[in-house]
């Protein structure tokens, strides 16, 4: 069944009512979740009525139902795409066998680790973004922020459901721990590096949702191929919600660029000082933010050579992006992949078994996808008649994980010495001064149909509402 049962305390389309033990366990976790939300969710927002979307079913007809709701009352729940019990595992050593509905014993630890790592990113991003409501450049943007936040909350629910249902006491303990870690906390930080960074301003937020949620898209796509069917079904639905997050990021950056270009044409200048004085973000600063968020996200895909990745694939736990569409044997024991490496100050290519390079395969898919969006940002600049073009840095630039960790590479791909690297920092990555400037532009706009000076209004409103709709009501 794909219709969601909202009469339950925990809305779900998995017949939770028939599993009393699980229902009780989740109902015990629920108050801790709500306590976490009240503590670490969007600051000061508990009484706002926000025009949010809730899913009422998982198919295209019912997944978007809009209405005003106070976020603590949001109907977080467990929604899986419909099951097809005869679906065969599409890849790895178990290819062709029917998918697992229970966790196979030998993969238990690995699967739990995958699920916990994915689940940890969800509350992490909410924690990183909790102050941004106070500086939202418009009600439309504030609503988008809150929509992203509640959906990340739902994604946490999705992972916790799997932990409770399939991993017994270990699962319940992990689910507790997910609510105890805190982004940026020195004692109990979140698991992945990018999720301990601060998101101090809205340009950073848009870059984060554009790049880092896109990592999410690829990780979820790989998991949506999983031979562990409950994981595949739940990540498949999460992907539909993820599309909106990426939209927020892509359109947010596009609108900032649009506004900057308009002012550049008005004042007939490209001088950053003049533009900053006019209250917009100059394009080179946007490029530096891009470089930062891109490189930090690229690290999220893990080590380029990884035996874990090989294990997960052969076991049928985590596939490649669009696995069924790939024209190979989906077992990959003979397949190879060309990895980039550094030797004697030069980039070289080496061929390795593809199984060991699957993190890199996913990373390269991600890079292709994110480059396309940057191309669309450049179209905005081109349409404004300006010659500047944003570029995506070299994949070895500013890396902390894998083969290129610590290698000094400029965004244009030159391998440089330490001195050049240090000098280049202020040119290539957002500096404290850049961030201070962007922060200085941040100020809360709460009037209907008003937009902060540094960002253009969107082309269309949400859910066919007009742009001057009251997307958030303060009470």
């Amino acid at each position: 069944m794909s219709d969601i049962n909202y009469s339950e305390k925990i809305p779900n389309n998995v017949n939770l009512a028939e599993d009393r033990t699980l229902q009780r366990a989740l109902e015990q976790w629920q108050p801790n979740y709500l306590a976490w939300w009240k503590d670490m969710g969007p600051e000061g927002s508990l009484s706002y009525d926000v025009y949010l979307r809730t899913a009422v079913s998982v198919d295209s007809g019912g997944w978007a139902n809009f209405g005003y709701v106070k976020m603590p009352d949001y109907r977080w729940g467990i929604f899986l795409t419909p099951a097809d019990a005869n679906r065969p595992i599409q890849f790895g050593e178990n290819k062709g066998k029917p998918v697992w509905q229970e966790v196979p014993g030998e993969y238990r630890a690995n699967l739990r680790r995958i699920i916990v790592t994915q689940g940890d990113t969800e509350p992490a991003s909410v924690e990183q973004q909790r102050h941004l409501g106070l500086t939202a450049p418009s009600l439309y943007d504030m609503r988008n922020l809150f929509q992203v936040n509640v959906e990340e909350g739902r994604h946490l629910w999705a992972m916790v459901y799997l932990l409770h249902k399939h991993f017994g006491r270990d699962g319940r303990e992990e689910a507790e721990a997910l609510l105890e870690r805190r982004s940026g906390d020195s004692d109990n930080p979140r698991i992945l590096g990018a999720f301990n960074e601060r998101t101090p301003d809205w340009l950073a937020f848009f870059m984060f949702t554009y790049f880092t949620d896109r990592d999410g898209k690829f990780q979820l796509s790989a998991l949506a191929e999983s031979g562990f069917d409950p994981l595949a079904r739940t990540t498949k639905f999460m992907l539909t919600e993820e599309a909106h997050h990426m939209f927020v990021g892509e359109s947010g950056v596009a609108r900032i660029i649009q506004r900057t270009c308009a002012v550049m044409n008005d004042l007939k200048t490209d001088d950053p000082k003049t533009l900053r004085a006019a209250g917009v973000i100059d394009l080179p600063t946007i490029q530096r933010y891009l470089n930062f968020h891109y490189s930090v996200t690229v690290d999220l895909f893990g080590a380029d050579l990884s035996s874990n990745a090989a294990t997960f694939y052969s076991a049928g736990l985590k596939g490649r992006y669009e696995e069924p569409k790939r024209p190979d044997d989906h077992v990959l024991t003979e397949a190879t992949y060309k990895l980039m490496d550094v030797r004697d100050g030069q980039f070289v290519e080496r061929e390795v078994p593809m199984l060991n390079a699957l993190n890199e395969v996913l990373r390269d898919d991600f890079i292709r996808d994110s480059v396309a969006g940057v191309g669309r940002w450049n179209k905005v600049i081109e349409k404004a008649g300006l010659p500047f073009r944003l570029t995506v840095p070299h994949k070895a630039f500013h890396r902390q994980i894998g083969t290129f960790a610590g290698t000094r590479v400029a965004p244009d791909g030159r391998i440089v010495d330490e001195a050049t690297w240090q000098r280049g920092q202020s040119e290539w990555l957002a500096t404290p001064e850049d961030r201070a400037f962007v922060s200085s532009l941040m100020g809360r706009v709460t009037e209907v149909n008003k937009y902060a000076n540094f960002i253009a209004p969107p082309a269309i409103g949400v859910n066919k509402q007009p742009i001057d709709f009251e997307y958030v009501r303060f009470n």
């Binding site: 794909s2 219709d3 198919d59 007809g61 978007a64 599309a243 990426m246 359109s251 996808d369 082309a459």
Partner: protein
């Protein structure tokens, strides 16, 4: 007779400036009309059936864009790949259909002659078109009130096959079956002239489930057998065409073969009912002028049988039937029709491939019976129903117009009157 048709299409397009290439629409499209390259996501106008399934999941609304184009000049997929923005809506010349009987027929994405839609605007099934331009958009004033969409894709009703009879000669080419479906205790209120859709089991080559196929019911409202909660369908087996064509559009034959092969006791998934205009009048003085070909006889059978059952209750209106088929052997229900009393119903056949006979189509036979048809046209209690292949619409209208004009009734105003008073109904496929 009819000039070149200038068909206008409301083409479904994606705005490349707004789209974020999230792939949600491509995954959602039930007919595979959406595809992409490294630049853009595009919609194939030939495949797209305007079902709207892609509209709600799109996070940007970029897919909710339409441009009216001449159908033969619709933007190709190759074109759309090159776009960096949507073309502006151009000026399209449309012909006023009311005054030009054999000129354009305007197709709209959500118009009267679109396939039946479920509540969320998705098409429930493929099959029959109601022509709301040449025919009425309203039912007769005394028609019973129809129920529609009681059972949908998500909640179909199960029907048991209570009978499956071959109607046409075993030796012949055409294999038409009379299939009786029983709903047991679950309500399925349906009227003559309405249709249902059947969901054949199985999936297409790409793994998606088959689309439902629409069939007009051949039984009256109180059951194929009076007092029973059942109905009957007239199904012609479509041979040798299963699978998908080069565009990936499914070829027919899946459902017709499924039903023709169904055994008594088999359970069939049904959705519907559909249809709110092709309904019969219930006031006793009303006349029915029924014109059909092949399996288009299904609704006529339903209406005729209902009248026959009601005959003793003072129904006085006349029934006249014009029924075309290739040969007598390929005409469904030929036997039972011949045994109906001549004072109850006036039946004329037209055979287009009878051995040793010249081709006759229903419009030819209409002309032969011009005197009686003209009398019916003159009577304001006459209700006209046309059901069968699309190709018959033009010929029938032409014949009716000639008969009217030659009997001193100006066709244009008569046609308008018939349409506006719910007295002219087309259902074709």
């Amino acid at each position: 007779m009819s000039g070149a048709s200038l068909v206008v299409l409301k083409q479904h397009l994606i705005d490349p400036e707004v789209c974020i290439r999230c792939n949600t629409c491509e995954e959602t499209c039930p007919v595979g009309a959406i595809t992409h390259d490294s630049a853009n996501y595009v919609v194939n106008a030939d495949t797209c059936n305007a079902c709207m399934a892609c509209i709600s999941p799109c996070p940007t609304g970029s897919i909710d864009n339409w441009r009216s184009v001449i159908k033969t000049e619709a933007y190709s997929v190759a074109d759309q790949y090159t776009w960096t923005e949507l073309p502006k809506q151009g000026a399209i010349a449309t012909v006023d259909v009311v005054d030009a009987p054999d000129a354009s027929r305007v197709l709209s994405a959500q118009g009267v002659d679109a396939p039946p839609l479920e509540a969320d605007n998705r098409p429930a099934a493929e099959g029959i078109d109601v022509d709301g331009v040449r025919g009425s958009r309203l039912p007769p004033w005394s028609a019973a009130h129809p129920y529609v969409n009681l059972y949908t894709h998500k909640t179909p009703i199960k029907a048991t096959v209570a009978g499956n009879y071959r109607l046409t000669a075993e030796s012949g080419d055409t294999d038409v079956h009379h299939v009786v479906l029983d709903f047991g205790q679950v309500p399925f209120p349906i009227l003559e002239g309405q249709s249902v859709a059947v969901l054949p089991p199985g999936t297409m080559a790409d793994g998606r489930p088959h689309h439902a196929r629409q069939y007009s019911v051949a039984s009256p409202r109180n059951g194929e057998r009076p007092g029973y909660n059942n109905l009957s369908l007239t199904v012609k087996r479509v041979k040798g065409q299963t699978g998908t064509d080069a565009r990936g559009v499914e070829r027919d034959g899946v459902c017709s073969n499924y039903l023709c092969d169904a055994k008594k006791g088999d359970v069939v998934q049904v959705i519907g009912p559909f249809g709110t205009t092709f309904l019969m009048p219930n006031h006793p003085a009303s006349n029915l002028l029924m014109i059909c070909t092949g399996t288009g006889s299904a609704p006529m059978r339903g209406m005729t049988e209902y009248r026959r059952r009601k005959r003793l209750d003072g129904a006085t209106g006349k029934l006249m039937l014009f029924f075309g088929a290739r040969t007598k052997e390929e005409l469904p229900y030929f036997g039972p029709l011949m045994s109906l009393p001549k004072d109850f119903i006036d039946v004329s056949f037209a055979f287009s491939r009878a051995a040793g006979q010249p081709k006759r189509y229903v419009q030819d036979v209409l002309r032969e019976r011009a005197v009686d048809v003209a009398a019916l046209l003159r009577d304001s209690e006459t209700y006209i129903y046309v059901c069968g292949l699309k190709g018959m619409e033009d010929g029938v209208l032409q014949a009716l117009s000639e008969i009217a004009n030659q009997s001193g009734q100006a066709w244009e105003p008569l046609w308008r009157k018939l349409r506006d008073s719910g007295r002219l109904h087309f259902e074709t496929y």
